[in-house]
Amino acid sequence: MGLNVLHADIDSFFASVEQVENPSYRNRPVIVGADPMGGAGRGVVSTASYEARKFGIRSAMPISKAYYICPNGIFVRPNMNLYSAYSERVMNIFRKYSPSIEQISVDEAFIDVSGVSKLFGNAVSIAQKIRDDVKNETSLTVSIGIASNKACAKIASDINKPDGLTVCPLGMERDFISDLDITRLWGVGKKCADKLRNIGINKIGEIANRRCEEFVSIFGSNGYRIWMLSNGIDGESVSECDEIKSISKEHTFQADTDSTELLTSTIRSMADYVTRDARKNLLKYKTVSIKLRFSDFTTITRSETFSDYFDDYATAKSSAEKLLRANISSRKIRLIGLSISNFSEDIQNTLFENTENILKTDMLIDKLKIKYGEKIGRCGV
């Protein structure tokens, strides 16, 4: 154990890339997200530059609200190909300093620097080198947190954003995070935070000071995790490829719809997409879930869990259609989503059934799609 875990987070990534690519955007509020359409736009803010954040604009805020607050801001549609290219460049810089990188999203990663000190010096000097390299090579800024474990490193990187370097001192993990708001804890979302506030807990230290059992009784095994994290303890290691928990796909319609035909064909193409991804990753799913957001923004998710594992298109498709049929009414739908989860990597073969033919069809279509692209269709999609 030592100060070996770095959490590196690119500052306001999408907006910063836009500012790098378009010098005229620099020092101005840039809002990456949906089209504001003069204030009538649908969809949300994806990333706001620090200049835009000064106006109070945040990620996930409705784009129409952002437009209302800051009508003179620069509103741009996301250019994912461009961001991916930048992300890859930054991740490659991280890889120069350690073989053990766990990329958790397009703009953040954990870097385990244990064992590379002879090559590059201690964690702080490595972090500084990484920050310099990223700035020189891409003009982006990276905030880095250094700690003895992942959870504390992630909290630390967020403290002096943007362009910060924060060290959580070894042995001081518990004190370091104790004054922070509970939402800074990894895995404490809005609902969880509300429950904690209801019992008078606002700061991380207040969790650490209470008995673990109290949280286990409220949150189950997650309560144990939260309590451990609040004490600055996190045993999870930096692992190259994190386990995939679910594969999902969502679509917001141009206009709210109640067309069963459109909903069905959308969900079928999603079933095709997610199961293809599962097959590519050699995963088998047990649970199929759909998400429906109605025009009044109420959102429901409904799922079906099987007793067996599958990786074919047909099972996900028919389950999703069944869930859809059971939950559509006259209410118009704004967004539809499909996810598969509860994965097993191990493929247990069966003695009797011959499922090979179904799989062969799926795999053939997968190959065709790689060769000819998405225009290769399935029947009914």
């Binding site: 007793s307 594992y309 247990q348 073969n349 003695l351 009797f352």
Partner: protein
């Protein structure tokens, strides 16, 4: 109407009958046991609409009567009474007053009963299509295969035990959940016309298993029902519709290699390796190399284990992924001090048999292992 019965006998009989009752049948007459009282015996009948059970005990009474009452409550009452006789007094409104013959207990306890009313008529008459079979033998057959049956209701044919006569006087029992299969073949006194075999539901098998002790019992078949007569208890049950898959076809006959292992030693090693496995597949890797078996398991972020056992093995090196829980289930029921594990390839069934018997066979389908394993 007064009935005098031995308390322990009545308690045992009520418990046997009540175990068939489906607790979901609340407030229906089927949540009760039916008591058919005659001068010298009481029949206790229960059913969940799939299984009917009748058990008979000796008693002395002053007439005939049929009534129903809740078996669970009656059982609790009887449990707290002293040994010896109990007197049940049933009045015209089917209220049952229960007291011990023991002078030491003063007081009275009354349970609500009902008339036979809508309690279904169950025909326990047997036809001649039956065999006599030793209870110990049948119990052993059930124990050795039942673990492989599926409790998951997706494929009903796997929710039971399949009984079939393969040749004269040779009865086989087979259970499977489609990933593994257990098979046992035993010599019995006669042959029964099973019409291609019958699948007896797991619940029925479990009831039968509880009743089996010593002596012989009867097993019979008529239309889509099977029946058992075990001691003073008769069970009649529906059989599961559908065709049990061709089990013979999935039991390998040709092997590429095999090894004989010490049952106890292997079990101990397996227990240690199993610690670092997780549901749903409880995967371990078996690596067979010359004269050595290396068993491995690994859990991300938790740890890994390795056990090495010296064995006699002369086949080609092979690595198999296997569900350790399945393996343990099969090994546990092996009575011999050593067993044989036969291999047909890393994507084909693994076969487990006692060393010197081909009559008891477990087949387990391997788990695909990735290169990284």
């Amino acid at each position: 109407m007064k009935i005098e019965i031995d308390k322990d006998q009545l308690l045992k009989a009520v418990n046997i009958a009540d175990s068939v009752i489906n607790i979901k049948n609340v407030n229906s007459i089927l949540s009760n046991c039916l008591f058919n009282v005659s001068k010298d015996s009481v029949e206790i009948v229960s059913t969940d609409n799939e299984i009917g059970l009748k058990t008979t005990i000796d008693s002395v009474s002053d007439g005939n009567i049929s009534f129903t009452t809740n078996g669970k409550i009656l059982s609790q009452v009887l449990k707290e009474l002293p040994k010896g006789s109990v007197i049940l007094d049933i009045d015209d409104s089917y209220s049952i007053s229960i007291r011990s013959k023991s002078k030491e207990i003063k007081g009275n306890l009354k349970l609500v009963g009902t008339s036979k009313g809508d309690f279904p008529d169950i025909n326990f008459e047997m036809n001649d299509n039956l065999i006599e079979i030793d209870q110990v033998l049948l119990k052993d057959m059930i124990r050795k295969v039942i673990f492989a049956a599926s409790t998951d209701t997706v494929k009903p044919v796997f929710n039971g035990l399949f009984f079939v006569f393969e040749e004269n006087n040779k009865m086989a029992a087979v259970a499977s959940d489609s990933r593994r299969l257990s098979y046992i073949n035993t010599k019995v006194s006669s042959t029964l016309d099973f019409k291609g075999g019958l699948i007896i539901p797991l619940k029925t098998i479990n009831e039968v298993y509880k009743l089996l002790s010593s002596g012989s019992c009867k097993l019979g078949l008529m239309e889509n029902q099977c029946f058992f007569k075990i001691g003073n208890t008769d069970i009649i049950s529906r059989v599961i519709d559908g065709q049990f898959p061709n089990y013979k076809q999935v039991m390998p006959k040709d092997f590429i290699s095999f090894s004989v292992l010490d049952t106890k030693k292997f079990t101990e090693s397996l227990k240690r390796v199993m610690i670092l496995t997780k549901e749903p597949t409880y995967k371990i890797i078996l690596n067979f190399t010359k004269d050595q078996l290396v068993m491995e398991s690994k859990l991300q972020d938790i740890g890994e284990t390795q056990e090495i056992i010296d064995i006699e093995y002369s086949g080609n090196d092979i690595s198999l992924g296997i569900n350790s829980q399945y393996l343990m289930d099969s090994i546990k029921e092996i009575d011999s001090i050593s067993f044989k594990i036969s291999i047909t390839g890393n994507m084909s069934p693994v076969t487990i048999t006692p060393e010197n018997s081909a009559d008891y066979v477990s087949v387990i389908m391997p788990i695909q292992i990735k290169q990284a394993d």
